[in-house]
Symmetry: C2
Subunit: 223 residues, 2 copies
């Protein structure tokens, strides 16, 4: 197996993140060859400068982590992020609307964010811990219909993170039409590998460096 | 002592808040005479309709709860909220910038949100649990200088909520120039009363109904 780095969104989304931490995150992303960095919107201009000319995408979050920002604000935040250099957008859906079964409203807000992203990849966070399986499936259909690039399990700030069962469910429903991103609580090579086997095509984690190091050891053990 | 209701921001900020819960929140606010409701931005239009003609202010949050949205997005979110009927705005500062000592950047973003609020009261959340006392004091000075109406202790989503020591510190530093709002973990009349005695002039809580009921019992006991 190739390095897992290309599946990893190297993530730092803590409330008190500093510029120095963002610099380190971007250096590590280049060194390890991660797919992207995923960082707070206010640091997108800095990361875009630091990663200019590299193969690492700049990713950020919209309506994060609670999902209840006004739709117009999610749209504005997306456009602002893309204008500042973001190539990937992880948005949180309106969880209350989803809980109430207002699927058309959820699909419409995703559609508007996808339009505002003007080509940047949009990953749509369902925050699975709030929903039962039929609701997760119905929402995944809406994510596909709205033109997003990925459906994503969790913010990492909710009551629970990614589960293997959710990744399997989302992957089955997505059926290869869009990617599946697992995030929240994935901190070692063992659980990372299980997420890939369950159908994840991208994984968000703040432990990317440790995971690649563990994979190197594991590969030595296998060979 | 008069009813504590007039000090209370009747608060519901859970990620999966539904319209039905917002309706109940607004009914209770009118019935109990709370100062305001504090609810997710996407529910401001509904609450503004429900509370039209009442004395209860519609409050909402900006850059909440992590504080790291781009400044332009906080400004847009504020204008959108006020346009939709919000009269009070609880914003979170850029916590990373504050941690790095970039106080001018913090003051400038508050100033811009205050301008966008065009007369709506702005309460500025420091998220005290991330800072030492000298930093909290320096930030309070910036909040005053930027023209905000209140300095506020916490989001209720951070590692810790309001403490009596923080309320005393902020009240001492504010020196009556602006109000002090305590929020995060205040769930009964005993702790509510201590917060008022420490210098809080507004209190955010989701337990307002229970607190007023406990105050009624306490008043009977006193008389």
């Amino acid at each position: 197996m190739d390095s897992p780095a290309r599946f990893i969104d190297h993530t730092l989304l803590k409330a008190d993140t500093t510029s120095a931490q963002i610099r380190l995150l971007c250096e590590e992303a280049v060194e390890y060859g991660f797919a992207s960095v995923c960082l707070p919107p206010s640091f997108v201009p800095l990361a875009a400068d630091l990663l200019y000319g590299s193969s690492v995408a700049v990713g950020t979050v919209v309506g994060f982590p609670l999902g209840y920002a006004a739709v117009a604000v999610k749209v504005f935040e997306t456009a602002e992020a893309v204008r500042s250099g973001a190539g990937e957008i992880d948005m949180v859906i309106a969880l209350g609307a989803a809980r109430e079964g207002r699927f058309s409203a959820v699909e419409e807000e995703i559609r508007r964010v996808v339009a505002a992203a003007s080509g940047a990849k949009v990953k749509v966070i369902l925050e699975c811990c709030y929903f039962d399986d039929p609701l997760k499936e119905a929402l995944t259909e809406r994510v596909v219909a709205a033109g997003a690039a990925y459906v994503k399990t969790s913010t990492g700030f909710g009551p629970a993170g990614a589960t293997l069962a959710d990744v399997r469910l989302l992957a089955l429903r997505a059926g290869g039409r869009i990617g599946v991103k697992a995030a929240g609580g994935i901190r070692d090579w063992g659980s990372f590998r299980e997420m890939l086997e369950a159908g994840a095509t991208r994984i968000g984690t703040s432990a990317g460096v440790a995971i690649v190091d563990q994979w190197l050891q594991w590969r030595r053990g296998e060979s």
